[in-house]
C-alpha cells in the first residue's frame, strides 16, 4: 500500500470521530482528494486556498535561501574570516558552501519550530472546535522565520507563535476571520515582550555577543557593530554599507528581509500570478517615498540640524528608506495579506498609501521603534474595514445621486 492509500484508510478510520479534521487536513495537504461534488457545481477554479498559499511560499523561498547564505556571510565577515563582497550580486565571497551551512543550521530550527508549534495550535483548535484545519498557517509559518533576527532564542519564538496564533487568529474564528496579520502579531509580540532580543546590536549577526565578550577578554578580533542600518541611523551613526549592498541584501537584519532585489522579484511574481495586489504594493511605495521626501525637504529647509536626534533618519535620502529595514518585505508580503487588507480597489490605494506614509513617520520620529513598517501595517489592518466601509458607502451615495438625477 502506498502512502496515499495509507492516508486514505486512516482518514476513513477516523471519519466522524473527534480527530477527523486533523487526518482530513493531512490527506488533502499531500494529495488532491478523490471525492468530487455530485450535485450541480458551476465553479471550476484551480486557485483554491491551498494553491494561493503555495504561490506565496514559492515567492518566499528565494528570500529564505538568501537569508541562509546571508546569516553565514554576516557571521564570517564580522569574525574577520572572509572579506566583504566586492563584485555585485554574484560575488564569490557570498555564495559559498561555508556560509550556507552555517545559515542553514541556524535557520532550520527556527523554521521547524515556527511550523511545528503553529500547526500544532491550529490542529488543536480544529479538533476542539470540530472544524476543518485551514491552510492559513502555511504562509504565516514561512513568514515568521524570515522576520525574526538570527539569534532569537527558540523558546521565545515558541511563546510568541502560540500567542500570535491564538490571540491574533483563533479567537476571531481562524483563517479568514482575523483582523491582524498573524505573522506580524507574532513579531509585534516578540518586539514588545523581549525588546532587548529584537533590537540593538546583539542578535542580528550570529554570535555577536560571544564575540564582544571575547574581545573584552583580550581577543584580537576587530569589533564590528552588529547593528542594523536602521539602528545605527536612528542613533545618527554613519552607515558603512553601499547602496548596492542594501539593494542586494548583504547587510545585517531579520533573516529574510534584507535582499530588496529578491523581494522585488517575489513581488513581481505575486503580481504576475495575481495573488498579491499591485495596488497595495504600488501605493505603499508611493506613500513611503512621499513621507521620506517631505522629511528630506524639512532637512533641506534647515529646520532640522544635525544636533537633532531625528537628523540621522530624516536626512537619509528618501528612496533609501525602501532598501533598509523591513520596508520592502512588509509591503510585498505583509501588507498584501488578502484577509487583513482592504478589499475594495479604492480602499487598497488608501490603505497602501497610509502604510508607507505612517511607516516612515514612525521610523523617523520614534528611534525606539525603528521597525515602523510592522506597526504601520498592524495599525492599518485595524483600519482596513473602516476604509472599506466608507468606500462602499461613497459608492452607494454616488449611484443614488445618479439615479435621482436620471428620474428628475
Amino acid at each position: 500500500m502506498g502512502l496515499k492509500q495509507n492516508l486514505h484508510s486512516l482518514r476513513e478510520k477516523y471519519k466522524g470521530t473527534k480527530m477527523a479534521p486533523a487526518f482530513n487536513a493531512l490527506h488533502t495537504f499531500l494529495y488532491t482528494p478523490n471525492d468530487t461534488a455530485h450535485g450541480g457545481t458551476h465553479i471550476k477554479a484551480a486557485d483554491d486556498l491551498k494553491r494561493t498559499m503555495n504561490t506565496v511560499i514559492m515567492a518566499l523561498i528565494p528570500c529564505l535561501i538568501f537569508g541562509m547564505f546571508n546569516a553565514g556571510y554576516q557571521h564570517y565577515v564580522a569574525a574577520g574570516e572572509i572579506e566583504a563582497v566586492t563584485s555585485g550580486f554574484f560575488s564569490s565571497e557570498f555564495w559559498t558552501l561555508q556560509n550556507f551551512t552555517l545559515g542553514f543550521w541556524k535557520v532550520l530550527p527556527i523554521l521547524l519550530i515556527s511550523y511545528g508549534v503553529g500547526l500544532g495550535v491550529e490542529f488543536l483548535f480544529a479538533v476542539i472546535k470540530g472544524h476543518e484545519v485551514e491552510e492559513g498557517y502555511l504562509v504565516t509559518g514561512m513568514l515568521v522565520p524570515l522576520i525574526v533576527p538570527i539569534d532569537i532564542p527558540l523558546w521565545m519564538l515558541v511563546v510568541a507563535v502560540v500567542f500570535g496564533v491564538v490571540i491574533g487568529k483563533e479567537v476571531f474564528g481562524g483563517t479568514g476571520m482575523n483582523i491582524l496579520n498573524p505573522a506580524l502579531t507574532i513579531r509585534a509580540f516578540l518586539f514588545f515582550a523581549y525588546p532587548t532580543w529584537m533590537s540593538g546590536d546583539k542578535v542580528w549577526v550570529e554570535g555577536a555577543v560571544e564575540r564582544t565578550r571575547e574581545i573584552a577578554n583580550g581577543s584580537t578580533a576587530d569589533a564590528i557593530s552588529g547593528e542594523t542600518i536602521l539602528g545605527s541611523l536612528a542613533q545618527s551613526h554613519g552607515v558603512d554599507y553601499s547602496v548596492m549592498d542594501m539593494f542586494f541584501g548583504f547587510i545585517p537584519g531579520s533573516i529574510g528581509e534584507t535582499s530588496t532585489l529578491l523581494i522585488l522579484l517575489g513581488g513581481l511574481f505575486l503580481i504576475f500570478t495575481k495573488i498579491g495586489s499591485w495596488r497595495i504594493m504600488l501605493s505603499s511605495v508611493i506613500g513611503a517615498l512621499v513621507m521620506g521626501y517631505i522629511f528630506n525637504l524639512v532637512v533641506a529647509a534647515g529646520w532640522i540640524t544635525d544636533t537633532s536626534k531625528f537628523y540621522g533618519l530624516m536626512s537619509t535620502e528618501f528612496w533609501h528608506h525602501l532598501l533598509i529595514g523591513g520596508m520592502a518585505f512588509g509591503i510585498v508580503y505583509m501588507a498584501t495579506d488578502p484577509v487583513s487588507a482592504s478589499q475594495t480597489n479604492k480602499g487598497k490605494w488608501i490603505y497602501g498609501f497610509l502604510i508607507g506614509f505612517v511607516s516612515i513617520m514612525i521610523r523617523v520620529f520614534n528611534p525606539a521603534y525603528p521597525e515602523g513598517v510592522m506597526l504601520a501595517i498592524l495599525l492599518m489592518n485595524v483600519f482596513a474595514p473602516t476604509i472599506d466601509h466608507y468606500v462602499v458607502q461613497g459608492n452607494v451615495k454616488r449611484r443614488l445621486k445618479r439615479a435621482k438625477l436620471k428620474t428628475a
Binding site: 530550527p109 532569537i152 532564542p153 527558540l154 521565545m156 555577543v209 560571544e210
Partner: protein, 214 residues
C-alpha cells in the same frame, strides 16, 4: 450563608462571577487597564472602590426619596467625589508612595462607570442594607478581576510579586538555544491588560455557556 438570607447573599455572590462588572458588563475597564501592572496598586484600588461603592450606595439609598430626579446625577457625583477625596487624603497621609504610584487614578474613581452604574441601577431603588450588600458585591467583583490581572501582569512582566523577586534571572547565554527566564515586557504595557481581561472572559464563558451572547 447563615447571616444573610438567600436573596441577600445573591447580591454579593452574583457580581463575583456570573454578573461580574468587568467581564460580563464590561464596565470600569479603564482603571483595570491602567493600574494593574503591579499587584499592590491593584489591591489598594480594589479596597478603595469597595469603600467608595459600599458607602456611596448606602448614602444614595438613604437619600433616594428626597433626591429630585432631575438633578440626581449631580447629587451622585457629589457623593462619589466626597468619598473619593477621603480615600485620596487617607492614602496621601498613610501611604504616600503608593498614592503617587496610583496618581490620578484614585481621583478617577469618580468616573468609574461601575459606581455611577450601581447608584443609578440599584441604590436609587433599594433599601440601605441591600444597597450596601450590592455595593460590596460589585466592588469585590471588580476587585477580584483587578487582582487576578495584577497578579499575572506583575508575575510575568516583572518577575515579582508585591515587589519581591519570584521568577529567576534573565538569560545569560545568547543564540538560538539560549534558555532561561526573561521577563515579558509586553505584560507591563496596558494592551496586555486588555488581552488578559479578554482571556479571563474567554475562560469564564467557556466554563459557563449560558453567558455567551449570540
Amino acid at each position: 450563608m447563615g447571616l444573610l438570607s438567600k436573596k441577600d447573599s445573591k447580591l454579593i455572590l452574583d457580581p463575583l462571577a456570573d454578573d461580574n462588572p468587568i467581564t460580563i458588563q464590561v464596565l470600569g475597564i479603564c482603571s483595570a487597564l491602567a493600574i494593574t501592572a503591579q499587584l499592590k496598586p491593584s489591591i489598594v484600588m480594589a479596597i478603595s472602590v469597595v469603600f467608595v461603592l459600599s458607602v456611596g450606595n448606602v448614602v444614595i439609598s438613604l437619600m433616594r426619596n428626597i433626591i429630585p430626579s432631575k438633578i440626581r446625577i449631580i447629587v451622585q457625583l457629589i457623593v462619589v467625589a466626597t468619598l473619593v477625596i477621603i480615600v485620596d487624603q487617607v492614602l496621601k497621609a498613610f501611604a504616600y508612595s503608593l498614592s503617587k504610584e496610583l496618581s490620578v487614578f484614585i481621583g478617577l474613581i469618580i468616573t468609574n462607570c461601575i459606581i455611577m452604574g450601581r447608584f443609578e441601577a440599584f441604590a436609587l431603588a433599594n433599601k440601605p442594607w441591600r444597597s450596601f450588600l450590592d455595593g460590596i458585591g460589585n466592588a469585590l467583583g471588580y476587585g477580584v478581576i483587578l487582582i487576578i490581572v495584577g497578579f499575572f501582569r506583575e508575575l510575568l512582566g516583572s518577575g515579582t510579586l508585591f515587589g519581591f523577586k519570584v521568577l529567576g534571572d534573565s538569560v545569560e547565554k545568547t543564540g538560538l538555544y539560549a534558555f532561561g527566564y526573561e521577563n515579558n515586557g509586553f505584560m507591563v504595557l496596558p494592551p496586555m491588560a486588555l488581552i488578559v481581561v479578554g482571556i479571563i472572559i474567554w475562560v469564564q464563558r467557556s466554563r459557563n455557556k449560558e453567558l455567551i451572547e449570540d
